[in-house]
């Protein structure tokens, strides 16, 4: 997996007591094609503080273009923003 840190549009389910859960998102891949991805499975969630910037990193798995892919989404807490962090 490579770090992309690409800002994305995401639909998120904010739970009552747990961390927010990404449901689906949209990103443009290297060729400029916009892809829509449903988050099939969240494998793990970690809180990170690299360079003092608080964020949650979600390790997820989805079927993209018929291929099972593992990737990471990042929620930047102070910005209230989602990124496709690694893929």
């Amino acid at each position: 997996m490579k770090i992309l840190a690409e800002p994305i549009e995401a639909a998120v389910w904010f739970k009552s007591k747990e961390k927010p859960q990404p449901v689906k998102f949209r990103y443009s891949d290297g060729e400029g094609v916009v892809r829509r991805v449903n988050v099939d499975k969240i494998i793990s969630v970690d809180e990170v503080k690299t360079a003092g910037i608080r964020a949650f990193v979600y390790r997820c798995q989805s079927e993209i273009d018929g291929v099972m892919k593992v990737y990471e989404l990042k929620y930047l807490i102070s910005d209230c923003r989602w990124e496709l962090y690694k893929m």
Partner: protein, 416 residues
């Protein structure tokens, strides 16, 4: 016996920028190439604020101009500072340190002192704890630190500066002779370029030479700081690790280097007003009133002079401070082009109780309540949410001084 840690982020601005850039997918770790953090040369802020270790090998040093640095290594990678990011990094580091002791002093943005004496019962061996802190900062925050471990602040600080980066050094008093005394005297804390030169003239070249010298002799040479540096050379320092909230501030000041040379009195006064806005706001937030106001000027020819006045009463309103600033400026400015302006206030008295005088301004209470209101608005909606009318449609930033709008603690360490 006390146990003190000194924690120092390695090339702080640069590694913080590096960590944030890596996180954003930047392909290179700028700590591993000749790189610097520098202000914008177009605004005449082009001095090196931090350098990577590979850049240091080309003789590039903090404080040099960007121009000089590029002559030493033309392919130098240059990045702008991001003070909001640095504040985040510094706060995150402080939060980790606070887990190990309630007594943490933020000495500057990238340095802290930690009193480990009482933490020993909980966290065990100090050196092991220091390694743990160092590794945690590296893993969790993505940058490296040096930690000096000793029995007082001075030795801990000297220890953390031994070999960089990413190391823990002990500098116990018994190790002083081996680890600290062979170093050049200029490396000692509080010994600057001028002092080092004076000492070299009497054949004191290393810290050891100074330690073994007669303290009276050093005092005669350097006056009262002489005794202090002699004590430091001998590893003597009894100062406590003080929480920043308990440190008593004795003065407030801000200055700014202007992007062009100012020759016009009106423009200079506007810049002084913008500086006064910041200074007065900080003064009121501290809950003090000042009775000494000073203005400093650096000319285009790099000549620096200042002028100050002691007031009969104490003041804290922006308007009153500004009136004195204008008076001082007119008294001392000789008309030469100005590069840098500064405003400073000191001789504090707690605000609250106050001696009224026959010569008080009539609108004193009005000014006070105006300032209180403006401060509140600015706190809630940002510094530039409300500005003086005289700044509208002008090019002058209405509140100047300081690197960002929060209380930014500068690099380099200062005696608080």
């Amino acid at each position: 016996m006390r146990i003190i840690f000194h924690i120092d982020a390695n090339s702080a601005y640069l590694s913080w920028t590096a960590a944030a850039m890596l996180e954003k997918g930047y392909p290179v770790d700028i700590r591993e190439i000749p790189a610097v953090i520098s202000g914008d040369p177009l605004n005449r802020h082009g001095i090196i604020l931090a350098k990577s270790i590979p850049a240091k090998k080309y003789g590039i040093a903090t404080g040099q101009s960007l121009f000089e640095a590029r002559q030493k290594y033309p392919g130098l990678a240059v990045f702008p500072p991001d003070y909001d990011l640095y504040m985040l990094c510094s706060n995150a580091m402080y939060q980790i340190l606070k887990e190990y002791s309630p007594l943490v002093e933020r000495y500057s943005i990238d340095e802290c002192f930690l009193d480990y004496t009482a933490s020993r019962n909980r966290f065990g061996d100090p050196v092991e704890a220091a390694y743990e802190i160092k590794e945690r900062i590296k893993k969790e925050l993505g940058f490296t630190v040096n930690i000096g471990v000793s029995t007082n602040k001075l030795l801990a600080k000297m220890g953390s500066e031994l070999k960089k980066p990413d190391r823990v050094h002990t500098l116990w008093p018994q190790e002083m002779e081996k680890k600290m005394w062979p170093l050049p005297v200029g490396e000692l804390y509080m010994v600057g370029r001028a002092t080092a030169e004076k000492l070299r003239r009497i054949n004191i070249c290393t810290i050891g030479d100074l330690a073994k010298a007669d303290p009276n002799h050093i005092k005669a040479l350097l006056k009262s700081p002489g005794l202090l540096v002699w004590e430091f050379a001998n590893g003597i320092d009894n100062s406590e690790v003080t929480l920043n909230s308990e440190i008593i501030q004795k003065g407030v000041g801000n200055s700014t280097t202007i992007s062009h040379d100012v020759t016009d009195r009106t423009e200079a006064l506007m810049i002084l007003l913008a500086l006064t806005e910041r200074v007065a706001m900080r003064l009121r937030r501290l809950g003090y009133m000042a009775s000494l106001v000073s203005v400093s000027i650096k000319t285009a020819g790099f000549i620096h002079y200042s002028h100050q006045m002691k007031l009969r009463n104490s003041i804290d309103t922006t308007t009153e401070i500004y009136e004195h600033v204008c008076m001082l400026f007119d008294q001392c400015w000789k008309g030469e082009p100005i590069r840098k302006l500064g405003v400073h206030v000191s001789d504090f008295q707690a605000s609250g109780t106050r001696q009224y005088s026959l010569f008080d301004r009539r609108d004193d209470e009005k000014l006070r309540s105006l300032d209180r209101t403006v401060d509140k608005i600015r706190e809630k909606y940002g510094t530039r949410s409300i500005i003086r009318g005289s700044f509208t449609n002008g090019d002058i930033n209405p509140v100047q001084g300081g690197t960002n709008d929060s209380d930014f603690i500068m690099m380099g360490g200062y005696r608080q």
